[in-house]
Amino acid sequence: MRIARAAPVAIVITACALVAPFRDPDRLDPALSFCAPSAAHPFGCGEAGVDLLALVAHAVLRGAILAIVVAMVGLAIGAPLGASAALVRGRFERATDRACDLVQAFPSFLLALAVLSAVRAPSRVHLAFVFALTAWAPFARLALAQTRVLRSASFIEAARALGVRGAPLAFRHVLPNAMPVLAVQLGSTAGAIVVSEAALSFVGLGPRGGVSLGSALEQGVSCMLFAPHVMATAALAIVATSASVIAAGRAIE
């Protein structure tokens, strides 16, 4: 129900989902290389005559799905971790706090390289794994902060007095109350992952095959002098996708 409410907000992604089935990013028409926008190709064409609308629509969809899935995984790992850390208190709480600090400040690019250096051609599954390594931290930190406020609330004390402990306390009583904040974070984490995925494929660490926002941008930068529309399309698609995902998070809240 709530997810349905987020769909119109994520207008860019919805539009891409409507367009993608009808346009194929693998159909090349070399005669149309770098042609300017026209009625048949609303965004124009890129290298080897790939239809930019098709390329961007597919890339946005794949990027957004990757980002949303990873953000959900982050939520599923981080939220219970943070909530239980705050409920257990003591050393576990301090260690979780510090771990979040370290993971959030650490350059994700370096981490991605360290892991991706072991594979010849990283696929989206590899990228998703790399992002999931750090995606839990903001959720854990938020759940920790929220639970610190909630743990002294009277309804939690009441639940404790009734003998509710451990996982049921965290999942049934604490986390539902932290959900609105976590939903917003879900959006901004997914938005950040959209940008990171684009950045990694821009520098050449992305999935082979070229259907990603970063490689579209890379293509645009290399032909910046004679076909700036390729770069503009890719750059705007990255902003629009990440803004759209963030807005969807707000709508779910």
Partner: protein, 310 residues
Amino acid sequence: MRAARAVFARTLEALGVTLAMATLVFFALRLLPGDPARLLLGDQASAEQVAQLRAELGLDAPLLLQYTRFLRGLFTLDLGRSLRHPAASAASLVARAVVPTSELAAASVALATVLGVAFAVLAAGPFLGTRRAWVERAMIAIASTPLLSFAPIVTYALAVRLRVAPLPGDPDAGLAGLAFAAGLLALPLAAHVARVGRAALEDVARAQFLAAARARGASRARTWIVHALPASLGPILAVVASQLGALLGGAVVLERLFERPGLGTLILEAYAARDLPVLEAAIVAAGALFVVVQAIAAALHATIDPRVRA
């Protein structure tokens, strides 16, 4: 005594993070499926060629021995020779690449701090009146636009259309190229600094010592710059430190965009060529650089703000 213990704990943590990073790279390359020698030589290589390269890289030794050798190499800064340029050692290539990246990062941190603080004072102080809201809106817009999107567009506008900035890949760009790249890299950081700085300044603005300074006859500019600003430097430093990781990622993107030499370019080239010794050395160096700069920021923060020393 307490300060010494804090420095010691920080150093230990920094060493730990660097070591963890190095270990992760080491084991990722050796334990994950895909033999590095096989990756390097391609599928057509004969078994002898692969075996020879494995021996050359020391990959035929037991894992624990390889790891000890790797750790010893880290401490003696001898991580082997580059596979792509056999004449150069991995350490020397990294040392050469660290310079331009550090220049870029240092220039953009300096620029971002100056810009961010200026904007924070404008947004929080009484200098702009009701137009302060515009500064605030501009900062939010900049902070939420990814560098990856606006850097190419700004480059196109300034370098290709207006021709006021050097073109990407221009080898004679020199100082202008550095200034342009640093300016781009500084923008998001400046927006973060400005937002945090504004909040901190507004906090400080309610403090009594400002009213006291005003009562003693200090001018409005003097109260803000001499009295309020130093008191809010702590949070500003903290936000710079927390953005260092993002800064490093941004530097890699910009090095790629402008084809500048640097740590990012070296890492990407080593990755593309499967130049393992250089790749390992460069990733560890980048991680160590990050950790050291962060430790320095934390130490500075503690020196400026006595409340942080706990």
